[in-house]
Amino acid sequence: MKITRETVEYVAHLGRLDLDPREIDEYTGQIDSILQYMDSLNALDTQGVEPTSHAVPVGCVMREDVVRESFTAEESTGNAPERIDTFFKVPPIIEVE
């Protein structure tokens, strides 16, 4: 086995995903076989090969720093599931004594 139930739970936590116990079992088996398949890449010697992150070489693209029209606060927050005026509303982040 490449991966255990605990690893799946931990990685799900890193990805901010709750999973139910049945899903954890299912994913553990499936991800294990997918990772084993991915390990086929180890058969290749890639020493000295530069990795490709983009198929087209992309440099740092600059633009003039000028004031332009952008979305209004109303447009930007209009899809929020909960908001107060044009603020996003979220549960407490810092605990209060």
Partner: protein
Amino acid sequence: MDILDLTIVQLREMLRKKEITSVELTEYYLNRIKKYDGEVLSYLRTTEDYAMEMARSADERIGRGEDTPLLGIPLGMKDILCTKGVETTCGSNILKGFVPPYDATVIRKLKEAGFVHLGRLNMDEFAMGSSTENSAFQTTRNPWDTTRIPGGSSGGSAAAVASGLCTSALGTDTGGSIRQPAGLCGVIGMKPTYGRVSRYGLVAFASSLDQIGPFSRNVSDCATMLGVIAGYDPMDSTSIPEPVPDYQSFLGRDIKGLRVGIPAEYSVEGMEADVKKTYEDNLQILKDQGATLVDVSLPHTQYAVATYYIICTAEASSNLARYDGVKYGLRENGKDIIDMYKKTRFKGFGKEVKRRIILGTYVLSSGYYDAYYRKAGKVRTLIRRDFDAAFTSCDLIVTPVSPTTAFKVGERVADPLTMYLSDIFTIPVNLAGLPGISIPGGFDAKGLPIGLQIIGRPLDEGRMLQAAHVFEAVKKAETVPGRLRV
């Protein structure tokens, strides 16, 4: 004369001469959707009022003598392209009810060209899948056999075009999501060169691989659509600052002396006999038309699927971090903010999306990054070099699109790896950033379509369309099942 057999160029001519109005054309398609989409399930939602408003406006513009490439032409849109004021769900419960406050660049360009927006086409959730079975809302059916899948992730786009439920459509392709469903539904689908079309407003899955492209029933329409959507966009810094050629000008030219590369590695285990036979017949057509067939080698092909699933899941796990229940879409309440994120994402994402987030998070996590993500980046370089080397001895590479024809609904759901392997012929093209087109190559003994893939050098879409057009004229493959014409 059947409207379904006319090209956009021909329809534009009729619209210009007032032989038909955009309102009539739009009603024609809306009526067809009512009549046939109950069994095909290609549209998630039609936008009738919006479509009629755009059609009336197009007719006014035509009346004023305006002439743009898509003026009055009804199209379908994959539900992944942000459209101002139109619900855009990406096939996911987590984006249900999301109404973008802006247009994707391709939508803006289509609007400037005068199109009519018929509705939103079904897809695998966040474009992750090869069958539309991962859509949170419905599974689209293959119009040639409704017990089978249409391919994916742009299965709704392919099925709608093959059923004659729009003139053309847009889809997106990360590992084959335009070409595979186009092949399985027997229509034309093109993934342009990475960077040829702006991704601004495309809901991101794997940003270094995603590309938008057209579906159509003839090569001319593919050329028209590509000409409208292609070009540099300051809003997408990966778009290529090169002028857009007149793609129509490539049509009608012969292919005498064209060197067509045949990769030895694309004869894989599990390829159906009819697919192999059709591929060989298709190559003979190209040869008869004057092309020279050249053997080429793409030695790292067998590593492409593993490489792809490391890269695309890594990028997806990062891109999908934005769905947190704060800015848009679904929210499930929790005891604190982390709990709220977790519950929201648990409820909002489907199985395949969660599986890919976990895989992607794993391959990027501390201790595994070098072994998986960095390794995959290096193999991606080797795959790119394979194509560079092959293109020194040929002008185009021609392969099958998929090893099999359309499979049955439900057949591969429990086995993600087999599902992933169905994209073996399309994935390398995305990794190398090359353009690829799927064109109808014929049918198997069950009457299911078989696609032929043409791969080009970067920005060589014109030459691909040229070869596709020559092939189309000889092959004359049926693109709409007869029973959907009555």
